[in-house]
C-alpha cells in the first residue's frame, strides 16, 4: 500500500468537518499525538490524514541581532515558539505535523481560502513538511458543508495559490519591519533617557488609525456650538392633534423665530396642497464582513471583533459561509434555491422561505463590492448540530433574515405631504404608509417599517394651530467614533485588511491609547500621536500606509513581486528611522515625560475623600509586601486614610466615582472571575447587599 494524503486544515474544528465530509462512511478516526488532534479517513481506497494547524505556526522574525537592535531589515520566517514568548504550544503542533507528513506522499492545503489561510498552509508545507509547497494541491471552499468540501477535494487545484501567499508574506514582512522598528525606536529612546523599559508601540496601520481618533477628539474638544431655533407646532384637524413641521428646519436668529411664534400661534391655517408620492425601496444587499459588523453593532452592540469571532464559530459549525469576505454578491453556484429549501425545513424560517420559493425566479439584490475568493456571507441551510449560545443565535438569525431579504421584492411606501399656510408662513404635515411590504417582512425585526397615517385631508380645509413655540437648539460636535464607525473609516481609506482591522482597533484599547465604547483618545493616546506627528509625520499619515496597501494588492493580483514591494517599503521607512535615531535624545526626553505621567496616573486613584486635599495612590507596604490604597498626605502627617485591596488579579483605577457614595472606585480583574468594580468606601451604601458590582 502506498502512502497517504496529508490534508492541512486551519483549525481543529475545520479539520474534523473536512475529515467527516471526505470519509466514505462519514466517521473518520480521531487520533492524538502529543495532545494534538488529527483525523484518519479513508476515501475510495485512499487513506487521508487531516491535521489542523492552530492559526499561524510560523512568524516573521529578525534574521540576526538582539531584542533592542534597530533598524532591522534582514528578516526570516521561524516557528512561533522560537520567536515569541507564550507560543510554546506551537512546538507540539509543528512536530506532530512534521511526523505525520512522513506518512504521506500527497499534500493538500485546506486552510481558509484567503491571504492568511493560504499563508498558514504554505508555511506548514514548506517548513514542517519539508519543502512540499511546490508539489502541494489546494482545496478551495467557502463553506464547511459536506457537498462543498467533497467538490473542493475532487477539484483541488494542482498547485498552491502563490499570488495570495506572496501577498500574505509581503504583508507580514512589511508590518513586521514597520512595527518592530518604530516600536523599538520609541521604546529605546525612552530607555536611554530614563532607564525605564516601557513599550510605546505603533505600527503601519495603528499609527494612522490612532490619528483618526485623536483628530476627532480634538475637533470635539475645540467645538463651539451655534444657537438656532426650531419651531415646535401642533395643529388640530378632524379631532386629532398632529405635529406640523415649519418650512425651515432651523432658524438662525431669535428675532425671526419669535416673529413666527407671534404671528402663527392660535391662528387658523389653510390647507393649500396635498401631495402623495410613491417611494420604492430596494432590498438590502447580501452581507460582507464590514456590513455584518456594522449591522450587528447597530442592533446588538457587538464590537466588530466580537462579531467576527461569532461568525467564525458559525462558519466552523458549517452554518454560514466564510465570513472574512468583501463580497456583496451571491453567485448562482451557491444554489440559493437549495438553501431556501433547507431553511424551509426549520420552523423559524419555514413560512418566509416558502414565500420566496414560490417565486418564479430567485435572484439576489447584489451590491457592488466583490471578493476574488469568496461570495457574500450566506447561511448554508444546514441545521445546527449543537446548541447555539444566545449571541450565536442572534447573529445567525440576522444572517438568515438578511439572506432571505435580498431575494424579496422591493417595498413600496406612499408618502403624503400636506402644505398649510398660516399668516404667510408655510407648515407641513407628513404621513406615510406602506403599500407593499416586500423585503421588510423578511428582515423584521431588524427593520422597523414605521407608518404614520393621517386623517383624510383636502385642499381648502381649515386647521387650528394649537401650539407654536420656538425651541432654542445648538449645533452639535461630530460624534466620537465607535469601533464600528472607525472600522468603516478604515475601510473607506483602504488601510488594513478585512482580516486585521478589528484587531488593530482592539490594540488601541489594549495599549490604553483609547477608552470607552464611544472612543475617546486617552492622554497617552494624545501624547503618543503628538510626538509621532512631530518627529515623523509620515507614521501617522494615512498616505504612506495607503500607498503600501495598493502595492500589496498588486502582488495579490499577480502584477508585482513581493521582493520589489518589500524593498520599496524599506526605502520608505529607512529615512523615518534615521530621523528618529538622529533625534533620539530629544525624542526620549518627550516620551519619558509621557511615561512618567502614565505611571503616576496608573497608581493614582482619585482625590482623597477623607482629608479632601490629598490624592489616593495604590501603594505597596514595605513591611508586608501587600498592596493597599493610601493618601499622599500621609507623608506630611496630615491624613492616615488607608484601604485594603484584593491581593490577587490586576487593579486599575476607573476614574469614575461610586454611584452609591461618590468615592473613587477601582476595577479588579482576577483570573476565573468576572471583572468587578470596587468602591473604596468601607461603609458604602451599595455594599450593604453584598459585593459591589
Amino acid at each position: 500500500m502506498g502512502k497517504g494524503v496529508l490534508i492541512i486544515a486551519e483549525k481543529p474544528d475545520a479539520a474534523q468537518r473536512i475529515a467527516e465530509a471526505l470519509d466514505d462512511r462519514g466517521k473518520p478516526k480521531k487520533s492524538m499525538r502529543r495532545g494534538i488532534p488529527y483525523f484518519l479517513a479513508s476515501r475510495k481506497g485512499e487513506s487521508l490524514i487531516v491535521v489542523p494547524a492552530l492559526g499561524h505556526l510560523y512568524t516573521v522574525c529578525q534574521a540576526k541581532g538582539g531584542r533592542d537592535d534597530y533598524p532591522i531589515f534582514e528578516i526570516d520566517w521561524a516557528p512561533r515558539y522560537l520567536a515569541e514568548r507564550g507560543a510554546s504550544q506551537t512546538k507540539l503542533w509543528i512536530e506532530t505535523i512534521s511526523e505525520l507528513s512522513k506518512e504521506a506522499d500527497t499534500f493538500i492545503s485546506a486552510c481558509d481560502f484567503d491571504i492568511e489561510g493560504s499563508l498558514i498552509g504554505y508555511n506548514i508545507l514548506k517548513y514542517a513538511c519539508g519543502e512540499k509547497d511546490k508539489e502541494a494541491k489546494r482545496m478551495r471552499f467557502s463553506t464547511l458543508t459536506e457537498r462543498e468540501l467533497v467538490k473542493a477535494y475532487e477539484n483541488a487545484s494542482p498547485q498552491l495559490d502563490f499570488p495570495l501567499i506572496e501577498a500574505g508574506r509581503a504583508r507580514h514582512e512589511v508590518d513586521f519591519i514597520y512595527g518592530v522598528n518604530l516600536t523599538r525606536a520609541l521604546t529605546s529612546a525612552v530607555a536611554k533617557e530614563s532607564g525605564r523599559y516601557f513599550t510605546i508601540s505603533t505600527g503601519r496601520v495603528q499609527g494612522p488609525t490612532l490619528h483618526f481618533v485623536v483628530e476627532r477628539e480634538k475637533e470635539i474638544l475645540s467645538f463651539v456650538p451655534t444657537p438656532y431655533w426650531k419651531i415646535d407646532a401642533m395643529v388640530k384637524v378632524s379631532g386629532r392633534s398632529l405635529e406640523a413641521l415649519y418650512e425651515k428646519d432651523r432658524i438662525e436668529t431669535f428675532g425671526e423665530a419669535q416673529e413666527v411664534v407671534e404671528k402663527c400661534g392660535g391662528k387658523i391655517g389653510l390647507i393649500k396642497d396635498v401631495r402623495t408620492r410613491r417611494i420604492a425601496q430596494a432590498p438590502p444587499t447580501p452581507f460582507n464582513i464590514g456590513d455584518l459588523q456594522a449591522e450587528a453593532y447597530r442592533l446588538f452592540g457587538f464590537t466588530p471583533l466580537r462579531t467576527l469571532g461569532i461568525a467564525e464559530a458559525l462558519y466552523l459549525s458549517a452554518l454560514i459561509s466564510y465570513p472574512r469576505t468583501s463580497s456583496q454578491k451571491l453567485p448562482a453556484t451557491i444554489d440559493s434555491r437549495g438553501i431556501l429549501e433547507a431553511l424551509a425545513q426549520m420552523p423559524d424560517y419555514k413560512a418566509l422561505a416558502q414565500q420566496l420559493l414560490s417565486k418564479e425566479r430567485i435572484l439576489p439584490h447584489e451590491g457592488e463590492k466583490e471578493d476574488s475568493a469568496h461570495p457574500a456571507i450566506y447561511p448554508t441551510g444546514k441545521a445546527p448540530d449543537r446548541e447555539l449560545n444566545p449571541s450565536e443565535k442572534k447573529l445567525y438569525d440576522l444572517i438568515v433574515k438578511r439572506f432571505m431579504a435580498t431575494f424579496a421584492e422591493e417595498s413600496l411606501r406612499e408618502s403624503l405631504r400636506v402644505e398649510i399656510e398660516n399668516s404667510g408662513y408655510k407648515f407641513f404635515l407628513q404621513g406615510s404608509r406602506i403599500l407593499e411590504e416586500g423585503w421588510l417582512r423578511f428582515y423584521r425585526p431588524y427593520v422597523k417599517g414605521e407608518e404614520k397615517i393621517l386623517p383624510p385631508l383636502k385642499v381648502g380645509q381649515e386647521v387650528l394651530f394649537i401650539k407654536v413655540e420656538a425651541l432654542e437648539k445648538f449645533t452639535e460636535p461630530p460624534p466620537r467614533f465607535n469601533p464600528s464607525s472607525l472600522l468603516r473609516l478604515m475601510e473607506d481609506w483602504q488601510i488594513g485588511t478585512k482580516a486585521t482591522r478589528a484587531e488593530i482597533i482592539d490594540t488601541l484599547y489594549k495599549r490604553n491609547y483609547v477608552r470607552d465604547e464611544r472612543m475617546a483618545a486617552t492622554e497617552l493616546g494624545f501624547d503618543v500621536d503628538e510626538v509621532l506627528g512631530k518627529f515623523s509625520p509620515a507614521i501617522i499619515s494615512v498616505d504612506m500606509t495607503r500607498e503600501l496597501e495598493s502595492r500589496m494588492d498588486a502582488i495579490e493580483k499577480g502584477l508585482e513581486t513581493r521582493e520589489k514591494v518589500l524593498a520599496e517599503a524599506i526605502d520608505r521607512i529607512k529615512p523615518v528611522l534615521e530621523e528618529l535615531k538622529a533625534r533620539e535624545r530629544e525624542l526620549g526626553e518627550q516620551l519619558s515625560l509621557i511615561v512618567r505621567k502614565v505611571l503616576q496616573q496608573q497608581r493614582s486613584v482619585g482625590a482623597c475623600p477623607v482629608c479632601g486635599t490629598g490624592t489616593l495612590f495604590i501603594l505597596r507596604s514595605r513591611r508586608t509586601g501587600k498592596r493597599f490604597v493610601g493618601c499622599s498626605n500621609f507623608f506630611k502627617g496630615l491624613c492616615k486614610a488607608s484601604f485594603p485591596l484584593p491581593q490577587r488579579g490586576t487593579i486599575k483605577p476607573t476614574g469614575d466615582a461610586c454611584q452609591g457614595c461618590g468615592w473613587p472606585t477601582l476595577g479588579v480583574k482576577a483570573l476565573g472571575r468576572r471583572p468587578w468594580i470596587l468602591c473604596l468606601n468601607p461603609s458604602c451604601p451599595k455594599k450593604a447587599g453584598g459585593e459591589d458590582r
Binding site: 480634538k218 474638544l221 475645540s222 467645538f223 463651539v224 451655534t226 438662525e252 445648538f474
Partner: protein, 73 residues
C-alpha cells in the same frame, strides 16, 4: 502672558499653537452668536463656558478669558 491658558505650556499668546484653533473658533463663534441672540461678548463667554455642546477646551478657555477680562478683539 507666557503660558497657554488651556494646557499651561509655554506660549507667547493666550494659547499655544496646538490650541490656537480653540481661540479662533471662539472668535468666529461670537459673530454667529451676536447675530443670533444679540449677546454681549461677556454674556457670550459666560454662556459658552457652560454650554453642554461646547468642547471641554472651549469651556475652559471661555471661562478663563472671562475671569481675565479679555475683551473682544
Amino acid at each position: 502672558m507666557n503660558k497657554c491658558l488651556i494646557c499651561e505650556r509655554k506660549s507667547e499668546s493666550l494659547v499655544c499653537e496646538q490650541h490656537s484653533k480653540v481661540y479662533k473658533n471662539i472668535l468666529e463663534g461670537y459673530e454667529l452668536w451676536k447675530k443670533a441672540k444679540g449677546l454681549s461678548w461677556n454674556d457670550y463667554l459666560s454662556e459658552l463656558s457652560e454650554n453642554r455642546y461646547a468642547g471641554a477646551w472651549v469651556r475652559l478657555l471661555a471661562k478663563k478669558m472671562l475671569e481675565l477680562g479679555i475683551r473682544a478683539p
